[in-house]
Subunit: 229 residues, 2 copies
Amino acid sequence: MIKYMEIHAELLRRISSGVWVIGELIPNEIVLAEEFSCTRPTVSRALGMLVDAGLIERKKRVGSRVMQRATRAAVFKIAIVRNEITARGNSYAYLLLERKIMHPPAHVRAAFGDQDALYVKALHFENNMPYQLEDRWINLAMVPQASAQDFQIQSPNEWLLNAIPYSRAEHVLRAAKVNQKQAENLQLAVGEPVFIIERKTWQEEKPVTIVTLLHPAHKFRIVTQDVGM
Amino acid sequence: MIKYMEIHAELLRRISSGVWVIGELIPNEIVLAEEFSCTRPTVSRALGMLVDAGLIERKKRVGSRVMQRATRAAVFKIAIVRNEITARGNSYAYLLLERKIMHPPAHVRAAFGDQDALYVKALHFENNMPYQLEDRWINLAMVPQASAQDFQIQSPNEWLLNAIPYSRAEHVLRAAKVNQKQAENLQLAVGEPVFIIERKTWQEEKPVTIVTLLHPAHKFRIVTQDVGM
DNA sequence: AAGTGGTCTAGACCACCGC
DNA sequence: CGGTGGTCTAGACCACTTG
């Protein structure tokens, strides 16, 4: 129904089915506009989407060509842990383990600067079994109102989402063996594998929080989808 | 310089800094067009980008409002393993372990149908240490020319990227302990953690290949970035 | 110089949906 | 009914890059 989407879909088909070969110039925008009985800006919009997806390259005075795909981009969504669990129809529970304002370790100071920060450790349960161990530092220079929160009922995760609704984040995903302390919290044997998400969050380029999320490996997975195709 | 990007950046700032509150209607497009001294389609384009990023909701007859962010979307890129390793300045090596046309297990038959498929197992080395164990099924109904490939020199990963350049994929990311056989291949002790990527690939809705990629946990991580902000 | 992309304007038409 | 968004057209101007 929407013209630029139709055009985009058809061009996508021509690329993925090999009608247009990698490295080859595709017809210019005027020709495509005639073919699809529309104006050039409409074709241009469809081509722009293909550029965003990394499928073609457009060059003035030269034309557009199908690109060699060097990397595959995938996207995944991270929900609030409470919603993730209840969406599966399971019961959710939360337990605060520790909350303290103190001098943070070097890797946190590197982001926040050399000042005290709020440390919070908490557990999230699915069907009364530990699902996620949350280990978090909060930058009090950015979120001073956090020092008035006790985090007994509401997890820092959810509280922060309301206090700092929109922020930029970077994640590191990795696997490891649990150490002694983590194993006790997660009710695992020492050395069992965990899936770890490390997240750093900024608001307007200033660091807000650094969190490490540990999940028992057998209970956690991330599912993604290609972007663009 | 580009007007709709400027407008997008400014609107983003107003959302992330809290000038516009969650749930609140933002000025309508005509008002914004006047403010930014442009026409309505230009404003509309900037708003469209905010919708794509999941930051606002637009409703006809009502207006646009800042949305409560329920999930965080992150994107990561997966490069060809050879490029990933050489980009770090390290040496890359490849070794074929097994190649056989045979009747696949149930989870592969569920995707490919009940027919023989090509199984390939191979190792990718970084600085002469195992980095990735590739365990792959190839759908010969989709890629019959794969049966003529011996995969002694070129990995199925790279070969497929040329044979089927553009395809849709889904990934599952998880962690686990290595079993006996995998541990031997990866030169790990049994029970060590591995980071696993499972990828299914389609071309025009038809399954092409199913692959499991195992990485020693201490050598592998995925780094992502937020989309939209 | 000329052909290609990239963007914007001005205006239009329509769909949706609350009143 | 009328106000909001969503899209498209027709035309324009400019930037870039090759010849």
